[in-house]
């Protein structure tokens, strides 16, 4: 009955080697989010999609990109991972309220290690 699925759960990459993390959802929610969470810190929003509309946070580095090919799937691409990008990456969904944020549901996260 998984509702928000993230793959892989653990990802190891080398410094500078591109990596893609994936998220899928069975909730048919129109909003999908990517958060970065470093050790002992709160989740930090990188960007989110409202349907196909992409909303980037002002302080999200250009190294991070995202794609949402359809309602169910969303991808996070890190073009040239640095050591500082090692973190837990969390995908979340919400919907369908328009005038405010609806309840957010999180996936289990992908823990990224950069060697």
């Amino acid at each position: 009955d998984a509702m928000v699925i993230q793959n892989p759960r653990y990802q190891v990459t080398q410094f500078g080697k591109p990596v893609t993390l994936s998220c899928s959802q069975t909730l048919n929610h129109n909003v999908m989010y990517w958060y970065q969470q470093k050790s002992s810190q709160a989740p930090k929003l990188l960007f989110h999609y409202y349907d196909k509309d992409f909303n980037n946070e002002a302080d999200t580095p250009d190294n991070f990109q995202s794609r949402r090919p359809n309602t169910s799937f969303c991808f996070l691409d890190i073009r040239s991972p640095g050591l500082g990008d090692a973190a837990m990456y969390l995908c979340a969904t919400s919907g369908p309220l328009v005038d405010r944020v609806d309840t957010q549901y999180f996936g289990p996260g992908t823990r990224l290690t950069v060697l």
Binding site: V31, Y50, T103, G109
Partner: protein
Amino acid sequence: GIQVEQSPPDLILQEGANSTLRCNFSDSVNNLQWFHQNPWGQLINLFYIPSGTKQNGRLSATTVATERYSLLYISSSQTTDSGVYFCAVESGFQKLVFGTGTRLLVSP
């Protein structure tokens, strides 16, 4: 931007004890959510509570929006309650900003 502070930052309880976690926010908000992050990193939504009081089993939450705070009550705590508790408030279109978190350890 809006600031969200939680207290206490760390809390250690014996199993069976009760506790109150606090979330203060710096501006009026349309919505507030409480989450529990278990030791494996999974975030679970506990409450969607822009105002008023809600209860779910041993947990309850109260938000006083006019005074810009929310409280999460945990009664008869269990070891499975351990983890980090975050409140998050709406900040911009379809976005939440998370508080600083309260790390809870419940010992048997």
